[in-house]
């Protein structure tokens, strides 16, 4: 638009020798190399470079090109949703025999409590799903449940951080940032990593959940305010500046920047700045277009439950996610639930698991199921990885005697995967007879992440970034790809 494509081309063709890791590190030396690489990712500038993780090309042929993750904040009870425990029906109201240290957050558990919902089998696969989630129950034949998830922490934020960044601490790059760093984007007019926060509120820790940590800032998740007319801050040209005036301003600026780059040859960052303004101008139209749900048919809107009061905007986010995935966004994270609230606005059913989960499921079930079905009917599930997660489950005993609530439970819980490269209609791993410990095929968060990276064509041991003495990984020093879930 303002700079001829030739100048970018010439940069690519200009062969500058460099040490790959050093090059990434010394982006600060005036080269802006990472940014350039990010913007030029489709040009495969670094293809064939084996020295370090490639920010450009996958390690091997990926099954999935993009990923959508639903994160249900607060801790969804596996025992009342997907992990059917007949034994717990038998033991309902019985004294809870201690299984070692109490894992709850608030102290001593009460008596055992069976699922507060009836379960039945669904689909050809016969997967058990409770009456809590009738719409997701229709999808079981496309889904691979993992009933043996294991989290490190029984505390919301560290556990959520672990699910989202691999570490229980503040300040580690989120999975989306790693994917942006590892794979770049398929559409430079949209961010590579988009987060769609629940309109009811942010999860605890807020934007820490999608930070790029020590990775370069361009890999940070961009939180779209989908309920606002300006989904990204400062996207719109300020009021009072007409389109034609803005065009003239941009031309003036481009002339200045082009002259500067010409007079100061040799620094790629100066060309990258020119290009960044072109992309910014394109984003000003591509983001509103991507988030404009009025382009969707009435039947699609109804399928997601867009007009139902209970969905409070969450349905919009699910539909938005599909549009963003269609347009090449690498990683869309949809947050279901915020933090705290009275009544709570997440799945943290301490006081009364039924009351709490009833309200949350009403928001989550239909739109998420619709997204899964929609991706399938459009053929997108072939190369889109669909991931449904929560930070931990809830305990088989009540929280305190006589309470209808359940406390946090990190030692066994359920998540599910679907889509690209995933074996559909299976159940992987299991928890013990009361859903307390994992029984078969324990899956740790690093295992889960290793598998996701694998499906996207990345070797979790090779996707590294040097920071303060350590070649950091999403999976720390752990993680094994779960072969049993791969198609």
């Amino acid at each position: 638009m303002f700079v001829k494509q030739r100048s970018i081309r010439s940069l690519i063709e200009q062969k500058v020798p460099f040490d790959r890791r050093h090059f990434l590190w010394n982006a600060g030396g005036g080269l802006g190399a990472i940014a350039l690489a990010w913007m030029l990712n489709r040009e495969s500038l670094f293809a064939g470079d084996k020295q370090s993780s490639s920010a450009i090309s996958p390690h091997f042929t990926p099954k999935a090109k993009r990923i959508v993750q639903i994160f249900c904040a607060g801790g969804v009870s596996h025992l009342d949703s997907f992990d059917y425990k007949p034994e717990l029906e038998r033991l309902d109201g019985k004294t809870f025999e201690s299984k070692g240290e109490n894992l709850g957050f608030f102290g001593q558990p009460g008596r055992l409590m069976k699922s507060v919902y009836p379960f039945r089998q669904h689909g050809k696969s016969g997967a058990w799903v409770s009456s809590l989630l009738p719409h997701l129950a229709e999808c079981v034949d496309d889904v691979c449940f993992i009933h043996s998830m294991f989290a490190k922490s029984n505390n919301h934020t560290p556990a959520a951080f672990q699910m989202n960044s691999g570490f229980t601490l503040n300040g580690f790059p989120s999975m989306g940032s790693w994917l942006s760093y590892g794979l770049g984007t398929d559409n430079e007019n949209l961010p590579a990593f988009v987060v769609l926060p629940d309109p009811r509120g942010l999860p605890a820790g807020g934007s820490i959940n999608w930070t790029s940590g020590f990775l370069p800032a361009n890999h940070q998740g961009v939180a779209f305010r989908t309920q606002s007319s300006e989904p990204v801050p400062d996207l719109q040209t300020p009021k009072g500046i007409s389109a034609s005036a803005r065009r003239s301003d941009m031309e003036l600026l481009a002339t200045m920047n082009r002259e500067f780059a010409t007079n100061n040859p040799g620094d790629h960052a100066f060309a990258a700045r020119l290009r960044s303004y072109e992309l910014a101008a394109q984003m000003q139209s591509s983001i509103p277009e991507a988030t404009d749900l009025s382009q969707e048919t009435e039947s699609t809107q109804q399928m997601y439950g867009l007009h139902e009061a209970a969905n409070k905007g969450f349905a919009k986010n699910c539909l938005n996610a599909r549009r963003l995935l269609e347009r090449g966004v690498r990683f869309v994270q949809i947050l279901n639930g915020g933090s705290f609230g009275s009544p709570r606005i997440n799945w943290d059913g301490h006081e009364n698991v039924r009351e709490n989960h009833d309200a949350q499921a009403l928001t989550m079930d239909k739109p998420v199921a619709a997204l899964l079905k929609d991706l399938k009917q459009r053929g997108m599930l072939e190369d889109t990885l669909f991931v449904w997660t929560t930070e931990f489950g809830r305990g088989p005993a009540t929280q305190g005697i006589g309470s209808p609530g359940r406390d946090h439970h990190p030692n066994a819980f359920t998540c599910f995967l679907a889509g690209a490269g995933i074996k559909p209609g299976i159940r992987y791993g299991s928890s013990d007879e009361i859903g307390f410990f994992t029984a078969e095929n324990k899956v740790t968060i690093p295992d889960f992440h290793a598998t996701i990276l694998h499906l996207l064509g990345l070797d979790h041991e090779k996707l590294t970034f040097y920071h303060n003495g350590i070649n950091r990984r999403l999976t720390d020093v752990h993680g094994q790809v779960i072969q049993g879930v791969l198609a």
């Binding site: 005036g30 940014a35 505390n155 003239s248």
Partner: protein, 1033 residues
């Protein structure tokens, strides 16, 4: 049995060989009762066959040869498989990378060394079968076993170089290299030698405009004013450049600029992070301390010591106390620290300490000691034990606020406070005495049969006509006052959500009594409170709560049940709408007692955590609600009255209050019944009381800051694999053993006083013999001047960090730094006066072909300004910069309290918001879109080197952010004023303010056309967006 082995005479284990039975089995095979008989057999035969009786094994002659023959090939001087070596006593005993102690004296059976060579561990037989080395013979095994069981005595002369100097470059002693002689400036001499060797041509010296702009941004983070530029360009004296450098280094803006760099390294954050992310209102003192330290050119060794132990160094100063904020100014997991699960709580604490050790190790030593929490460092010579030795140094440091006043200041205030309190107590006693006399006189005049009044509460809430509480409040959520008869009323709470909230109370309350007359609408309800006293956000509360833990039972509710325990009283049976009297008494010794209808019920208990102080001006009373923010806190029913006493009532007083049913004699009635003498004394005491109270309330509060609190810790134990449930041996506070010129052993015991640990560590750290701190700091300063360090990984001088591009130069600078008394300003002077620093940024293809990254510094590489510098430069150019220094920061966000703190960025134009960006309150979860897009790091991440990205989001920020539009207008107005309204001149000014130069002819014409068409602000906008503006060359 094993114990007997070690403590009796029956020691020649080797004798079991005579029975053909491995010893390990013999422990189990022979029942205890047979022991004496067997022993005698053993003794009998021992002298005949065993040459290895107790103390008889000669390490040098008998054990060392075994190691040499069987083990040295893989665990000796030349090779250390798994980090384990048997030529070094320390490592031989402490074990290798797997973290297990290898030799446990007097316990061969449980010593991995013995177990491995004896084949006791499956798959771990040493030497391995395929190694080509022979297994130990039975005799050798017995020798080894006996030696260990005898105490594994390993004489000093064979201890090996237990602290052998690592060959790693950064751990070598600092020696000042001789610079090449061909250049007057040693710094340039080192640089140019390398360039010459590579045959690289240099760029010329930069012009003066470029130099002053470069220097200004580098040293003070702001652009030079046009007049400063002119003055420098036209100063033809020899010392023009030196004068400029001196002026900039003397500017208070210098400290603001360089403090920001240090705050990145210190991972300085002004909120907690994690779940609650609460704002730290009082963290800013540390930021000011850092600014002040740079401005004062505080010697760096002093700067280091203060940040480790400034609070315990003599003489105690406020600066010293504040300095130690470094230890705790990172993230903190409040929820993790307060949860019930012991293991998880311990992990949270260990994570905290890892963060602390990480910041100390990386910032000062350039070593990632934190990597040795679970095992010995993978790359660097940092054994697992060292991590725990250092952890023991900091074990007593915890998060939190405390006063930063010195002891003398605290004492002075305390004594004043005490004397005022005495005066208040005296006056109060006098008043009480007179009042009770007056009350007696009043009651004596009442008709016979009326009730004796109850104790006088500190505050009381009734809902009768013409009665007001001293702390009135608001009815919320459908609460209403219902008339019960013509003048009496009660608080009616008809449904969930209805409650009363008082204004803040005006006295600190700790010891107290909560009391209420309440009628419950039903007995099935759960979790509501009749009366609650809570902190302003509801985080801390004590309340009379119904049915929360168990149905129908009253408890004393508190946050996370931290002071709650069942009273064990019987269930409530009062039929709906029956008024009952409930009181809970909180004594100063933390006893909590429950009364129903005047009588104690169940068992009083000692609270698990102390009764908190509810702070005057913040705490308030809720009726009908347990606490703000809690789930299901509502009580449904009626409250006739509620009282708060500022003391623990006795049983008699509670009973009295119950009988009186709230009846008390009014003040007016009392006063009316006083004699003239009493009345005069009453007035005097009242005046005295008011005066003393006023003085007390005016007594300045001691300043507090987030410097952390200190506790005397229990002894530190090494945690195997870092697992909190696998403690091993006790460790003592120590430094790093890899620094061989210093003794890492501080001579402190495992239970040494907390302050001694940090004092010793600070001395050890800042010793001139420690080769790391000077190397690390000169590299940081170099890095910040040139955009890249001599070592490219400023926080990692270990094996996985980069090696120095100019090792001799680095050492020369480090020694010089120490010689100059660790002066940072002297180091800046040295660097910026070099020809290397003053070189132009011109790109030379021939040089780039050899050294594309400019590692050898053939030019001054252009550098993108950091986010803060961009914002500050814009404010400076537009003339809007508010140069107010220090104090609480500005808040570019609003906060929402919803159990956690949520931050919403706001854009404000008041002067307070136009301060330098270093004064921005920098929180974890509230990001500023403009600064964030320009690579402002997560405050909780230790950031020795900022990323530099170029992104469309960044462009959008500069294009559309309201701040940019506003400053464009200001710059335009400023220029037009300077140019007396002449647009062409104004354009020159705009360029000079923004870019420190005048436009050329073409630029001027272009800008003029744009300004004429769309206004000068649009030209200013373009300049703020321009590459030339955001890059320093």
């Amino acid at each position: 049995m094993a114990l007997m082995y070690n403590s009796t005479l029956i020691l020649p284990d080797c004798l079991v060989l005579d029975f053909g039975t491995p010893l390990a089995m013999s422990d189990n095979v022979f029942p205890m009762r047979n022991w004496p008989a067997i022993a005698s057999i053993l003794l009998f035969s021992s002298f005949a066959t065993c040459h290895a009786a107790r103390g008889d094994v000669d390490f040098a002659k008998e054990i060392l040869p075994i190691f040499q023959k069987h083990c040295y090939a893989c665990h000796g001087p030349n090779k250390q498989e798994s980090g384990y070596r048997l030529d070094n006593r320390d490592i031989a005993q402490k074990g290798g990378d797997n973290g297990d102690i290898a030799i446990r004296p007097k316990d061969a059976k449980n010593s991995p060394l013995f177990r491995y060579v004896n084949g006791d561990e499956e798959g771990m037989l040493m030497p391995p079968k395929d190694s080509g080395k022979p297994s130990l013979s039975n005799n050798e095994l017995q020798l080894l076993r006996t030696w260990i069981d005898d105490g594994a005595i390993w004489p000093d002369e064979f201890a090996g170089h237990q602290r052998q100097r690592s060959s790693h470059w950064s751990l070598q002693r600092l020696v000042k290299p001789t610079p090449p002689a061909d250049h007057p400036n040693p710094l340039d001499a080192f640089i140019q030698r390398e360039l010459k060797t590579k045959g690289i041509h240099l760029s010329a010296e930069a012009d003066r405009r470029t130099l002053i702009r470069r220097l200004s941004f580098d040293l003070i983070g702001l652009p030079p004013s046009p007049s400063e530029v002119d003055a420098f360009v036209n100063d033809h004296s020899d010392h023009a450049y030196s004068k400029l450098v001196d002026r900039l280094l003397a500017s208070p803006h210098y400290g603001e600029r360089w403090a920001r760099h240090w705050l990145d390294i210190a991972r300085y954050t002004e909120s907690q992070g994690f779940e609650y992310d609460r704002l730290r209102e009082n963290a800013w003192h540390y930021r000011d301390y850092v600014i002040k330290s740079f401005n004062e050119d505080k010697p760096y060794n002093q700067f280091m010591k203060e940040q480790i132990a400034g609070d315990v160094m003599e003489p105690m100063t406020t600066d010293g106390i504040v300095a130690t904020s470094l230890l705790v100014c990172g993230p903190w997991d409040q929820a993790g620290n307060s949860q019930k699960n012991q293991t998880q709580r311990s992990i949270t604490r260990e994570d905290e300490l890892e963060d602390l050790i990480g910041v100390v190790g990386q910032s000062f030593l350039g070593l990632t000691i934190n990597c040795a929490r679970c095992h010995s460092h993978k790359f660097d010579p940092i054994p697992h034990e060292d991590y725990y030795g250092i952890k023991s140094v900091f074990e007593g440091v915890k998060h939190g606020e405390r006063t930063i006043a010195t002891k003398a200041e605290i004492d002075a205030r305390e004594s004043l406070q005490k004397s005022l309190q005495n005066e208040i107590d005296l006056a109060t006693r006098t008043l009480n005495n007179i009042e009770s006399e007056g009350a007696k006189q009043a009651i004596a005049k009442r008709p016979v049969g009326s009730v004796a009044p109850g104790p006088t509460p500190y505050a009381k809430w009734t809902f009768n006509e013409n009665e007001a509480s001293i702390f009135p409040g608001e009815l919320n959520g459908g609460a209403l006052i219902k008339k019960t008869d013509s003048s009496r009323g009660s608080l009616h709470l008809p449904k969930q959500g209805a409650y009363f909230q008082s204004k803040p109370i005006t006295k600190d309350i700790r010891e107290k009594t909560l009391e209420t007359w309440v009628a419950l609408a039903n007995l099935d309800q759960s979790g509501g409170a009749a009366i609650s006293i809570e902190s302003s956000n509801g985080q801390v509360f004590d309340a009379i709560v119904f049915g929360e833990q168990k149905p129908k039972e009253w408890i004393s509710g508190s946050e996370n049940f931290s002071r709650t325990k069942a009273f064990g009283a019987s269930e409530e049976t009062a039929s709906p709408s029956t008024l009952i009297h409930i009181a809970i008494v909180y004594s100063s010794d933390n006893t909590i007692t429950f009364f129903r209808n005047g009588e104690p019920q169940g068992n009083p208990y000692q609270s698990a955590s102390p009764i908190p102080t509810f702070v005057a001006g913040e705490a308030r009373i809720l009726l009908g609600r347990r606490h703000t923010g809690g789930g299901k806190p509502w009580l449904v029913g009626e409250i006739e009255q509620a009282s708060l006493y500022d003391r623990a009532l006795t049983h008699d007083e509670v009973a009295q209050s119950y009988r009186a049913h709230g009846a008390s004699v009014s003040k007016e009635e009392i006063i009316a019944n006083l004699s003239p003498e009493q009345s005069a004394a009453y007035t005097r005491a009242l005046t005295e009381l008011q005066r003393a109270k006023k003085s007390l309330s005016e007594l300045a509060k001691l300043p507090v800051s987030y410097v952390g609190v200190r506790v005397q810790p229990s002894t530190t134990k090494r945690l195997i694999r870092g697992d909190v449930n696998s403690p091993d041996e006790e460790v003592t506070p120590s430094g790093l053993s890899a620094i061989v010129d210093l003794d890492p052993n501080f001579g402190l015991s495992a239970d040494a006083p907390e302050k001694d640990r940090r004092l010793k560590f600070a001395e050890w750290l800042a010793s001139d013999l420690n080769p790391l701190p000077a190397r690390v700091m000169v590299n940081r300063i170099w890095h910040l001047h040139f955009g890249q360090g001599l070592v490219g990984t400023p926080n990692d001088f270990g094996v996985s960090g980069e090696r120095p591009s100019h090792p001799e130069l680095l050492d020369w600078l480090a020694v010089k730094f120490i010689e100059n008394g660790w002066s940072m300003k002297a180091l800046h002077r040295l660097i910026v006066h070099s020809a290397t620093y003053r070189r132009s940024s011109t790109f030379l293809p021939s040089a780039a072909a050899i050294d594309a990254d400019n590692r050898l510094l053939w030019r001054f590489a252009p550098r993108r300004l950091e986010a803060e510098a961009i914002r500050d430069a814009i404010l400076s150019a537009s003339g809007q910069l508010n140069t107010k220094m220090g104090g609480p920061g500005f808040r570019p966000f609003t906060t929402t309290e919803f159990n956690a703190t949520f931050y919403t960025p706001v854009d404000r134009a008041e002067p307070e918001f136009q301060r330098r960006t270093v004064y921005r309150i920098n929180v974890n979860s509230g990001k500023d879109p403009l600064l964030d897009s320009f690579d402002c790091p997560d405050p909780s991440v230790k950031t020795p080197k900022r990323g530099v990205t170029t992104t469309p989001l960044q462009a959008l920020e500069l294009m559309n952010n309201a701040f940019i539009q506003r400053q464009s207008t200001h710059l335009s107005e400023r220029a037009i004023q300077s140019a007396n309204g002449d647009l062409e001149n104004a354009i020159d000014f705009v360029y000079e303010f923004a870019l420190s130069r005048k436009p050329n002819h073409e630029e001027r014409q272009r800008a003029l056309a744009a300004a004429n068409e769309r206004g000068l602000p649009r030209v200013c906008w373009a300049l703020f967006n321009s590459t030339e503006f955001v890059y320093v060359r």
